[in-house]
């Protein structure tokens, strides 16, 4: 026997489904409804946004550098400080560990056997060929992605003022004017300027190869490309002449 509450719930559900179906068929879905991820659009609420954007766009303000980029067990800001420890506290942990290890040994062995069946050991036979395959793969990826990378490189800023990998790179904000950098007196020898900033410089850049090194001139200043903090930047240098 269907009680009143269940009947109301069922009717609520049916009408809601009807409403959603009819709305999707005849009425443009408003942003709010789509944001709630309502069914019927094949899930993936963000897919429409992504596919609708045409070409790939990357934010100019994404920061790609930080302490974790170092992959070091020492923080880049760290000195050589260390803490003392109390070695006498260790004995209990050792006992617990061995007990736990024995308990789980059986289960793991079963799992290991199962997984080894799935992952045959002939994987190692492929190691010799691996490098060649990887290079081929990389060549393909490189070709595919180089165009994309070059497109976005001028748009994105890959540095930040709060980390140590990018020391010395002149900050270039959206809307900053080249004249402001000049006024700030940053064009002294040794100062690094981001590639994106140079691409926006209001001058015609000329280049010259001298002693195997490429120099660039923009107005009265000379630059060289250089690695700084893992990124390619322009560095203000003295005139090579």
């Amino acid at each position: 026997m269907i009680n009143l509450k269940n009947f109301k719930l069922i009717s609520c559900f049916i009408v809601s489904v009807l409403f959603v179906f009819v709305t999707i068929d005849f009425v443009p879905v408003d942003a709010d409804a789509r944001g709630r991820g309502g069914g019927g659009r094949g899930g993936g609420g963000h897919s429409a946004h992504r596919s609708g954007g045409g070409g790939h766009q990357r934010s100019a303000n994404v920061n790609r550098s930080g302490p974790s980029r170092s992959g070091s067990m020492k923080s880049s800001r760290s000195g050589s400080s260390s803490r003392s420890r109390n070695a006498s506290q260790n004995t209990n942990r050792q006992g617990n560990r061995q007990g736990n290890a024995q308990n789980s040994q059986g289960n793991r062995q079963d799992n290991v056997q199962n997984r080894r069946d799935v992952n045959p050991e002939d994987r190692h036979d492929n190691l010799d060929d691996h490098r060649d395959e990887r290079w081929d793969h990389q060549d393909d990826v490189r070709d595919e992605r180089r165009d994309y990378s070059e497109d976005v490189r001028s748009e994105r800023r890959e540095y930040a003022e709060h980390n140590e990998w990018n020391n010395g790179i002149v900050e270039w904000n959206e809307g900053s004017e080249w004249g402001a950098l000049v006024a700030a007196g940053v064009f002294v020898t040794g100062t690094a300027i981001a590639v994106s900033a140079m691409n926006n410089a209001p001058c015609t850049m000329t280049s010259a190869v001298i002693n195997g090194q490429t120099y660039y001139q923009c107005d009265q200043y000379w630059y060289q490309e250089a690695y700084q903090g893992g990124e390619v930047v322009y560095v203000v240098v003295n005139s090579p002449y």
Binding site: V15, F19, N166, Q228, V232
Partner: protein
């Protein structure tokens, strides 16, 4: 048709209201669910309390697992004593953005080492930039495919000296160099404030032992292959003192300690149209000391 929609819309509102009013009744019917929720809340409180306890952990209360320390030491020693190796590393790192969001970047790197003084580190980022570090005992060469540029820094010595120079003097990022160096990154007896053995695990079909360590500036979680070749299978490094506590993660695969590694592997051949650039060792001030160029070889 328009009337039909209006009617349907009204009906929808009415039914939604009806459903809303039913909610208290439904909740009273599901006392089990309530209890479960209460349990969850209690668990959350407990975990929060545990988190608070961790925060208040003092060095004097820290615990050292000798098995963990010994295992890490053995891993470092084993790698240091391995004369040649190849391994693939899939890595990610978080970067805190100015709006407070952590964004993950990553890539795949192939390490090829022939001790004492040959190494090739080929990193392909997710963005498509291929950056290759070469060292042959005499010169460090760093190639960037995105810009098609390379720089050469003369540096005679072994791998440790090359890594120290590249990371320390040239201020270039080169993750995991500590792992492959002969010298250990620090004295485990003094640098580890806490260590634990979390138990056995299987990563990509490899039997591992899982450990955690707390260093002065970072936390390390590491899975080391069980057996007589204690090679790392995965590491997670947390920069606990950095804003956002970003992480570096690396998954190792295809360890190869037996392949022949000829000289040509470590020889850099400038690609077509590539440009030679310089290393600009950075300093904090954008002043006179910054951008000191190093590594020019055309003399």
């Amino acid at each position: 048709m328009k009337k039909y929609f209006q009617l349907l819309f009204l009906l929808m509102i009415v039914t939604v209201l009806a459903c809303t009013q039913e909610k208290p009744g439904n909740e009273s019917q599901s006392s089990e669910t309530q209890e479960q929720a209460a349990d969850n809340t209690a668990q959350q409180d407990d975990s929060k309390q545990a988190g608070d306890d961790n925060k208040e952990e003092k060095p004097t209360q820290s615990k050292i697992d000798e098995f963990a320390n010994t295992s890490l030491q053995k891993m470092f020693d084993f790698i240091a004593n391995t004369q040649k190796l190849k391994v693939n590393v899939a890595s990610t790192f978080d970067v805190l953005q100015r709006n407070g969001q952590l964004i993950e970047f990553g890539g795949n790197t192939e390490w090829i080492i022939r001790r004492p003084d040959h190494v090739l580190i080929d990193s392909l980022s997710w963005e498509g930039d291929d950056r290759i570090f070469y060292f042959d005992g005499k010169d460090i060469t760093y190639y960037d495919s995105g810009h098609n540029v390379y720089a050469i820094a003369p540096k005679a010595g072994d791998l440790d000296q090359a890594f120290d120079y590249f990371v320390g003097k040239l201020n270039m990022p080169l993750p995991l160099t500590e792992l492959f160096s002969v010298k250990h990154p620090f004295d485990l007896n003094t640098a580890v404030s806490s260590s634990k053995y979390l138990g056995e695990a299987i990563l990509n079909g490899v039997d591992c032992d899982e450990f955690t360590f707390r260093f002065p500036d970072t936390d390390l979680q590491i899975w080391i292959k069980a057996g007589d070749q204690p090679l790392p299978q995965r590491v997670v490094i947390t920069y606990k003192d950095s804003p956002g506590q970003p992480q570096y993660k690396a998954q190792f695969s295809d360890w190869d300690l037996s392949s022949v590694l000829p000289d040509k592997l470590f020889k850099f051949v400038p690609p077509k149209d590539s440009r030679k650039i310089i290393f600009a060792a950075g300093s904090r001030n954008t002043g006179n000391s910054a951008g000191k160029s190093e590594g020019e070889t055309d003399k």
